[in-house]
């Protein structure tokens, strides 16, 4: 019998695409319900103001307006505030975050009232007619200012702007630093980023008043978590609430959130008994969808004279914004263990201080904590290289953990699944033509060219596959980190895979179908994958933290193997042999020594359905569920090299070459993996060179449109060169897979910034602000040359 060709390691074109390239896919804003009302949120223009009164009479008198509700109007209706799921420490301050503020607006864009009308235009017009009496209050937007004595308080009743402190310590850090012959210390500012998914958020709440039932469509990454959070906020029982994430247009962490508008649409739909739709405008997206990053880092390494690292110490201040959202305080913790990069050392310390400011809340943004950690270590290791007079390649090789294929402890605790850091660096150096680049750099230096070349490295270690539930408990996160899949075979051998992860561009339908095709020997085209619906896929923890293959994919594989085990028993029964007498490969059970006596999984699906002759006690049908909770994280790693050309007169930075070598373990679909790498790298380059959220001192977001917040276009960025390294299987799971969604944004910012600094190092430049915009680079050059940078 022919063995089906393996699909793992090949790139069948995506199952998702046909509806997306023809305009037939339905995103939330494409949906409409009979009798639907449109909701518009009235938002505070002030970063901090007391709400002294709201006069909605003019709005209510306008055509098509059905209702206006203020925070005070709805105060008694909430079962609880918006969910904050990560109380990281005992000292955490968690002031309640209500969907509409009841008393004070604490950031520009804080919701004050909602208007419901029969059309979106009518609702918008009426929102402008709602008169709010604001009393402006003192504002604080800068973290260091917020912690100073006498600073204006974001939450007066908390008595402080310090949201929490959290520490991770391993070894006698102070002693190691005291004894070390070499210590380097630098300060880095990771600017605030705005995720900017091209689809803004959108929500529809559809009530069935007679049944007490609700369906909530939301452009979210986390329908399952939203459902639980909506119980907390609205009191609607979980059994009466279905949450659907239809096609979702990108997330990057910004849709890993439980938002006020989800709760508001549900509550208002409940009150009015009509469907309610809210669609975020781009200008609102800048104010009301969470931001990311925003850290001030003090990085220190202790080393010996040769530059061998002995100790790590990082003190990090993190801007929370005005409220703690679902994992605001925990986001930096996701990077806490990888401030060591892929280097060894005897002592390790990371301290976080969370700070409230009158700004939009921060939370997970692609990489969530790990880009910040990687930036700190990949910058400070270059400072160490300069201090001990070593090349950036040499200092890294000196400090790499040796190659390993069994779990190996890391300086901050936890164990890494597998890694060979020299191997990815070797490949990156070769793909980049490193030696040639250095020669070209030397030539330009000697010529004194205006345009200088710089080469930057980033050899990173990531941890992802969120997350082992026991570790999450130890870190005080409120939920688990498992995921689930159900596989159902129809009588004719077609397959439904019902998965608990919830994609928004990552290609789960394709990748999961490949796993099942290989496990069950069923054609790729006969497999459909269902996601993003809490009724169809009731078990799930959704998509974030590069978990969908490393957790969700393993659950899919395990469910498929349960199908194999059940069909093995049916095959053995039909062939009148024992289970152990059967060989299994690619969907076919054959009798050992008599391979022509065989049964296939699709045929056995028919047997399971007819139930005419099943083994004694076996239930009919062929449907299995697996829930997978990993024992450890997975740890992608790699080496990125960026070569830039910097115009020393204008500050303009152009990327000449970008090489990304990422070992993400076993690769299911190379084309999808390459797509994740390329997209992530460009998003990281955007942080390094272009993007920055800027607030005025009075808390006005100055970069509140796509014309001010510079998301790069195709003409601004290069094509990148991609390598895969040794592809060491993860030892955490039986598929050997790691995760690939975040490698690019984690690895690339320090590679780019190191390259810019390298290009200017002959001028004495050792730091450049992010983003390395022409202005920032030009000012850096000017101030280093002794000018004032103006």
């Amino acid at each position: 019998m022919a063995v089906a060709e393996r699909t793992i390691g090949t790139s069948p074109p995506r199952k998702e695409d046909p509806e997306l390239i023809t305009g037939q896919a339905r995103y939330t804003d494409d949906l409409t319900m009979p009798g639907m009302l449109h909701m518009v949120v009235v938002r505070s223009p002030f970063a901090h103001a007391r709400i002294k009164g709201v006069d909605a009479s003019k709005a209510l008198a306008m055509d098509g307006v059905v209702a206006v509700y203020t925070g005070a109007d709805l105060a008694a209706d909430w079962a609880g505030p918006l969910l904050m799921a990560w109380a990281v420490s005992e000292d955490l301050k968690n002031p309640p975050h209500w969907p509409l503020t009841k008393d004070e607006a604490r950031h520009q864009g804080d919701g004050v009232a909602v208007v419901l009308a029969t059309s979106r235009a009518a609702a918008k017009d009426a929102a402008e007619a709602v008169e709010v009496d604001y009393e402006p209050l003192p504002v604080v937007v800068d973290m260091e200012a917020a912690l100073a004595d006498g600073a204006p308080l974001v939450h007066e009743d908390q008595g402080t702007n310090k949201a929490y402190t959290w520490s991770l310590k391993n070894g006698d850090v102070d002693a190691v630093f005291a004894a070390a012959p070499v210590v380097v210390k630098e300060r880095y500012v990771i600017q605030r980023a705005i995720p900017t998914a091209i689809e803004t958020r959108a929500v529809i709440a559809d009530p069935s008043p007679a049944m007490g039932e609700y369906t909530l469509w939301s452009a979210t990454q986390i329908p399952h978590i939203v459902r639980v959070a909506m119980v907390v906020a609205t009191g609607i029982p979980e059994s009466k609430l279905r949450v659907i994430a239809p096609r979702v247009g990108g997330g990057f962490g910004s849709k890993l959130q439980v938002y006020a508008e989800e709760a508001l649409c549900l509550l208002v739909a409940k009150k009015l008994g009509r469907p309610v739709k809210w669609v975020e405008e781009r200008s609102e997206n800048y104010l009301a969808t969470h931001h990311g990053r925003d850290q001030i880092q003090v990085a220190e390494l202790a080393a010996d004279e040769q530059g061998k690292i002995r100790g790590f110490r990082f003190n990090i201040m993190v801007n929370m914004g005005a409220y703690l959202m679902i994992i605001t305080p925990g986001t930096p913790l996701l990077g806490a263990f990888v401030y060591c990069g892929c280097y060894g050392g005897d002592a390790y310390e990371v301290n976080f201080t969370g700070v409230f400011t009158n700004t939009t809340p921060t939370d997970a943004y692609r990489g969530a904590g790990r880009p910040e950690a990687t930036y700190a270590i990949e910058r400070i290791i270059e400072a160490l290289a300069r201090k001990v007079g070593k090349d950036p390649v040499e200092i890294r090789r000196l400090n790499f953990l040796p190659a390993f294929t069994e779990p190996t402890p890391m300086p901050g605790g936890l164990s890494i699944d597998s890694g060979n850091y020299d191997a990815t660096l070797d490949q990156a150096l070769e793909l980049a033509g490193y030696d040639q680049l250095r020669k070209e750099q030397q030539v330009r230096r000697e010529r004194g060219d205006t345009k200088q070349i710089g080469i930057g490295l980033s050899t990173y270690l990531e941890m992802c596959g969120l997350a082992p539930s026991r570790v999450l408990k130890a870190l005080n996160y409120a939920a688990g980190g498992w995921d689930a899949a159900t596989i159902r075979l129809s009588p004719t051998g077609k397959v439904q895979v019902i998965a608990g992860t919830s994609p928004h561009g990552q290609g789960h339908a394709t990748t999961f179908a490949q796993i099942v095709a290989d496990d069950l020997g069923i054609p790729f085209d006969d497999i459909e994958v269902i996601t993003g619906d809490t009724t169809l896929a009731p078990l799930g923890m959704d998509t974030y933290g590069s978990r969908s293959i490393a957790i969700g994919g393993v659950a899919v594989h395990r469910a498929a193997m349960k199908i194999v085990e059940k069909t093995r028993r049916i095959a053995a029964h039909e062939l009148e042999v024992s289970d152990e007498d059967l060989d299994y490969a690619s969907g076919t059970f054959s009798v050992k020594g008599a391979p022509d006596r065989a049964k296939t999984v699709p045929g056995l699906a028919w047997s399971a359905w007819t139930a005419h002759d099943l083994p004694d006690g076996m239930e009919p049908g062929l449907e299995e569920t697996a829930v997978y909770d990993a024992a450890n994280f997975v740890f992608p790693y790699g080496a990125h090299i960026c070569a830039v050309e910097v115009d020393t007169e204008t500050g303009q930075v152009d990327i000449l070459k970008y090489v990304a070598v990422d070992d993400v373990g076993v690769v299911i679909n190379p084309q999808i993996v390459d797509g994740q790498v390329a997209g992530g790298v460009i998003q990281g380059i955007a942080e390094a060179l272009f993007e920055e959220a800027v607030y005025s001192d009075d808390g006005q977001l100055l970069t509140a449109s796509l014309t001010n917040y510079e998301v790069p276009a195709a003409s601004d960025v290069p094509s990148i060169v991609i390598g895969r390294g040794p592809e060491l299987p993860s030892t955490t799971n039986e598929l050997g897979v790691k995760g690939v969604g975040e490698t690019g944004t984690i690895a690339s910012p320090p590679a780019v910034i190191n390259a810019v600094i390298d290009a200017l190092s002959h001028l004495g430049v050792t730091d450049v602000p992010r983003p390395a915009s022409p202005e920032n680079v030009w000012r850096t050059i000017r101030s280093t040359r002794g000018g004032d940078g103006r």
Binding site: P13, T200, G507, A714, S719
Partner: protein, 157 residues
């Protein structure tokens, strides 16, 4: 007021307020939700459609401005029998999309490019598409897809 347009070769009439954009008419009145609105201020390009063969941002154009003209949306890109346009096929083959939200705008902008210039260079493709934003792909596969479509449309091997 009533506005009559030819949309994907079919004459359509909608009753709209003068302030309603072409994007809103396509999506809300004519049910053509393939045209996406990503920023409402003419930067992201997700709402790109062709007006008499030229790309326009339908979020910045009032429907009344398009009266009497020929509008082509992503729904009109494939042949009447459903055969995909070479650009659609190339985006599928080259993994030129992830979440797909920006894709209709890129397809329409790229179609105008290939109508004008059947043999663009990579740099020309990047420059032409610089009015459209994608947050997922990093543009690499979009550019490759457009070059692949161009090659196929030229009948090159």
């Amino acid at each position: 007021m009533d506005v009559t347009l030819s949309v994907n070769g079919v004459s359509r009439t909608a009753s709209v307020e003068p302030r309603i954009t072409l994007a809103d008419v396509l999506r809300d009145e004519l049910g053509l939700t393939g045209t996406h609105v990503g920023c409402e201020h003419g930067v992201c390009g997700a709402c790109t459609v062709l007006l008499d063969g030229r790309s326009v941002r339908s979020c910045l154009l009032f429907a009344v401005q398009a009266a009497g003209q020929e509008v082509t949306t992503v729904e009109g890109l494939a042949a009447a029998d459903g055969t995909l346009h070479p650009l659609q096929k190339a985006f599928h083959d080259a993994h030129g999309l992830q979440c797909g939200f920006c894709t209709p705008g890129f397809l329409m902008a790229a179609r105008e490019l290939l109508d004008e210039n059947p043999s663009p260079t990579e740099s020309e493709v990047r420059t032409w598409l610089s009015g459209n934003l994608c947050r997922c792909t990093g543009y690499q596969n979009i550019v490759d897809a457009v070059l692949l479509a161009a090659e196929r449309m030229r009948g090159a091997p």
